[in-house]
């Protein structure tokens, strides 16, 4: 798996072991802390291998800490251990015509814990938000080896400080999530996927955003794909806007009719969404230091500037053959997927550094982190949080930068 690739880049031998329970994890963290041995915490290893530089010699996986703990369909809430795969949750909830409205890139093999820890989301964020909007409570183990809980199993809760949100997106640097309760949704009566061809220039992308802003409904998802990505997802080498429309029959018909303003919609298999989530996987692995997988990063600005962000993303990857781009107009984000080659790394090092948009690294070789991403030094409140919850720097050290 990819963390092995990290070992290759780091040039050290990393051992990977699994934990069987929260108390087991607690003991392992206490032991690591006593020995000042930094740990790399991972789930299935699909996201935490994103190339963020972590200095550790031992990798601890929560993948075997799995299983659904509690699921009462009538409450639309589900509690599962961190290592439970999204696929298992999808399957179980699907039996009751319900679902967890999270579709992070990388597919359903990833674990619930890692999805929350990395705050990973996908196209559905347009309607349902990110993990911070869907997680109700967690159990976690801090860097001092303390098992604690925050939030609860009900859909509304303000009891105590919101450590649930603090841990969501903290990349396991403050505590390791061992269990989580999430909000489910009932499946809609109709769930349709359609596409509209666009010219693919900045104004055409912005028109999609303006339409979303104006319409009286919010589609489940709306993604703009460049021609290369469209070709790989639906087999048409032209820029498209992909919509996921849901609701009752009448509502979906009206949504569809409203989108005609953008162009003539055509039906697409809903499989397009799962294909989009793993769009990067067929890319050949050919990094100069043996990295696997492509380079993935995101550029972000205000949603109203999506045209500018799209133009900038195209400029950053210009001249790179096969670069895949998709924009989420409602969120102001453009995601870029580029094959890992020496030439591309060199080119991106320069073009990314010159980009004005906010840059978020998703999967990058270390040299790109250094060349084009924000300072890796944690200061202020983040640094204080790190030293309060993980005083010895045992958990995923460096993944969000080093505390001063």
């Amino acid at each position: 798996m990819a963390h092995v690739a990290r070992c290759a880049t780091l040039g050290v031998g990393m051992t990977t072991s699994t934990v069987s329970s929260a108390t087991d994890l607690r003991d392992r963290i206490r032991d690591a802390s006593a020995r000042a041995l930094p740990l790399r915490i991972a789930g299935a290893g699909t996201w935490l291998d994103a190339g963020r530089p972590v200095r550790s010699v031992e990798s601890l996986s929560t993948q075997s800490l799995s299983g659904i703990v509690d699921y009462i369909p009538g409450d639309l809430t589900l509690t599962a251990r961190a290592g439970t795969s999204l696929a298992e949750i999808r399957q179980e909830a699907g039996k009751h015509n319900q679902w967890l409205a999270l579709d992070p890139h990388g597919g359903d093999a990833g674990t619930l814990g890692a999805t929350i820890a990395t705050a990973s989301s996908g196209p559905l964020a347009t309607a349902f938000g990110t993990p911070r909007d869907l997680v109700l409570g967690i159990e976690f183990v801090t860097g001092t080896g303390t098992i604690a809980r925050a939030g609860g199993r009900v859909v509304k809760n303000v009891a105590g400080f919101d450590i649930t949100r603090l841990m969501t997106g903290a990349w396991g640097t403050l505590g390791v999530i061992t269990e989580a309760t999430v909000r489910l949704h009932a499946c809609p009566q109709v769930d349709e996927t359609i596409a509209v061809s666009i010219t693919g220039d900045a104004p055409s992308v912005d028109r999609a955003r303006q339409l979303l802003r104006r319409l009286p409904f919010t589609p489940y998802a709306c993604e703009v794909l460049n021609a290369a990505l469209s070709n790989s997802v639906i087999g048409r080498a032209e820029p498209i806007v992909l919509f996921r429309l849901a609701g009752n029959l009448e509502s979906v018909a009206a949504q569809r009719a409203a989108l005609v303003e953008l162009g003539q919609p055509f039906d697409i298999s809903p499989e397009a969404w799962s294909t989009l989530r793993v769009a990067e996987s067929p890319m050949a692995a050919s990094g100069p230091r043996g990295e696997t997988g492509p380079i993935v990063f995101r550029l972000s600005r205000h949603p109203s500037e999506i045209g500018t962000t799209w133009t900038e993303a195209n400029r950053v990857v210009s001249g790179i053959s096969g670069a895949l781009l998709h924009a989420t107009p409602a969120r102001g984000v453009v995601r870029c997927i580029v094959p890992t080659t020496s030439e591309n790394l060199a080119r991106l090092g320069a073009t990314l550094d010159a980009a004005d948009s906010k840059r978020i690294g998703e999967r990058l070789p270390e040299q790109l982190w250094a060349a084009a991403f924000r300072s890796r030094v944690m200061t202020g409140i983040p640094a204080r949080l790190k030293s309060a919850f993980d005083p010895r720097g045992v958990l995923n050290r460096g993944i969000l930068g080093d505390a001063t």
Partner: protein, 491 residues
């Protein structure tokens, strides 16, 4: 790093003296500093008439710069303080017991509105409904709508992570806050979150929202605005048993239709409302009514309304009435939103609870609450956000009657224990404050409470901001890092 946490700062009245009053008056003007006990009476309670605490001094800065100067002055002197918005809270959270109260209700400026990106930045004292009014012309509104929205402030909403009836569909305050400029209790100014698309790093906005004034004071708050729905339909369904109304709630939730609001009002509350100036036309002979609102695009809305009405009837609704116009809709909502006020007619005192239970447990929990009321001879009124399972069992009583007061408190504790045992939590939107601090140990282990103390100390190591709230003090005192994890003295 010390092996133990610093001991909590104790209010030191000696440090809150004339010299401090004079210094604060120099910052905000003499009229904006209250120091005499008679002037401070207004600030001895919030909207929950159960707790009365006298601040040593109250100061009312009128600008961002004045807030900063006040907080820094208090920091320099090591004086504890309590931030307060409109004082409409229902947990005793904004009470200052012998410390300084910092009133923020004069900071009422809407700093900026970005219609295109649907965001606004406001000062903390902006009244909730005033923000919606300020953006109404562009077809937008601020979604979280606590019942006190005509008076409560956005700063207070952020502190409490306030909810409201329409949070069922639109989410609570934390789902609508994008960025904050905060002055920490030590006087340091920090910016949390951002509005330019994605944010990386720790969700400090998420950590700050709902921190009940313990992490500092928000100087500027950037909120997400929501489009006004194209259409709204408000239904009133009445039932001859609470159980039937509760079953209807579960049936509606299971359809996948997410109502904008799904509220239950029981007979005792209906009668209080109907005999008040807020009479909404609720049937007084029904055991309970459900107030259900559906909104969104016109297309498909009637279909959802019909589906919901069908479920109401199938579960025993006697009548299902749909508001014909905005006037009728406003009237139906006024009854709900002013229900607590209407109860003021019944008795002089009121205890308000805010527990949340899993939605499938509603029928059982409501039946047992009724039983608890009977056992202790107290009158429990239920008016609550049924769609979220967020109960508000209220007991109106006369605090001058010691026997009744004692029975009320026993009943309240039993109700809370019942909700926790059903898998619920102690507060869904009102906050812990003073009122529920003794219940925190019902739902959190000492280690979990200690983790909260750790978080608080990151923002306020001296624990000077809103001391004594949210987490029981002894949980903090007991917080010691495990020896194995403790950094060496030189670290």
């Amino acid at each position: 790093m010390a092996a133990t946490a610093p001991s909590p700062t104790v209010a030191a009245p000696s440090r809150i003296d004339q010299s401090l009053a004079d210094r604060l008056a120099a910052i905000v003007g003499a009229r904006r500093v209250l120091f005499r006990p008679s002037e401070l009476l207004t600030y001895t309670a919030d909207a929950l008439p159960s707790y009365f605490k006298q601040p040593a001094l109250a100061v009312f800065p009128g600008t961002r710069d004045e807030v900063i100067a006040v907080v820094r002055e208090l920091a320099a002197r090591g004086v504890p303080f309590v931030p307060r918005g409109a004082g409409t809270g229902l947990s005793g959270g904004a009470l200052a017991d012998g410390v300084v109260l910092v009133g923020l209700n004069r900071l009422t400026r809407v700093i900026s509105i970005d219609h295109d990106n649907m965001i606004a930045t406001v000062e903390p004292g902006v009244v909730n409904v005033a923000l919606s009014r300020a953006v109404a012309a562009s077809g937008l509104h601020y979604a979280p709508d606590p019942s006190s929205q005509a008076a409560c402030t956005i700063g207070g909403n952020v502190a409490e992570n306030a909810g409201g009836p329409h949070c069922l569909k639109y989410g609570v305050t934390t789902n609508h806050i994008l960025a904050l400029e905060v002055i920490l209790p030590n006087g340091e100014i920090v910016n949390l979150g951002g509005t330019d698309g994605e944010n990386e790093g720790y969700d400090l906005v998420g950590a700050f929202v709902g921190s009940e004034g313990c992490f500092g004071i928000a100087l500027a708050i950037t909120v997400r605005l929501s489009r006004n729905p194209e259409a709204v339909r408000t239904l009133l369904a009445d039932f001859m048993s609470i159980d039937a109304a509760a079953q209807t709630v579960s049936a509606i939730v299971a359809t996948g239709i997410i109502p904008a609001a799904l509220e239950m009002i029981d007979q005792a509350t209906v009668r209080a409302v109907e005999s008040s100036i807020y009479a909404a036309g609720y049937p007084t002979d029904a055991a309970a009514v459900l107030l259900i609102e559906l909104d969104g695009a016109i297309a498909g809305l009637e279909h959802d309304v019909e589906t919901v009405a069908t479920h109401c009837r199938a579960n025993g609704a006697r009548t299902v009435r749909i508001a014909r116009d905005e006037v009728e809709r406003t009237k139906l909502w006024q009854g709900r939103k002013k229900a607590f006020g209407a109860m003021g007619r019944i008795s002089s005192h009121l205890v308000v609870q805010d527990a949340v239970v899993p939605r499938t447990k509603l029928p059982e929990v409501l039946a047992r609450i009724h039983h608890i009321g009977q056992t202790h001879r107290v009158k429990v009124c239920n008016v609550f956000h049924a769609g979220d399972g967020n109960l508000h069992p209220n007991i109106a009583y006369d605090a001058s009657d010691a026997d009744e007061t004692a029975r009320v408190h026993i009943a309240m504790r039993e109700i809370m224990t019942l909700c926790v045992d059903a898998g619920g939590t102690i507060t869904g939107e009102h906050g812990v404050g003073l009122d529920k601090i003794s219940y925190m140990e019902l739902i959190f282990s000492p280690d979990s409470l200690a983790a909260m103390c750790t978080l608080r100390e990151v923002f306020d190591p001296e624990r000077r901001s809103n001391p004594g709230k949210v987490v029981p003090v002894h949980s903090c005192r007991e917080w010691h890092m495990s020896p194995a994890a403790r950094p060496s003295a030189s670290a």
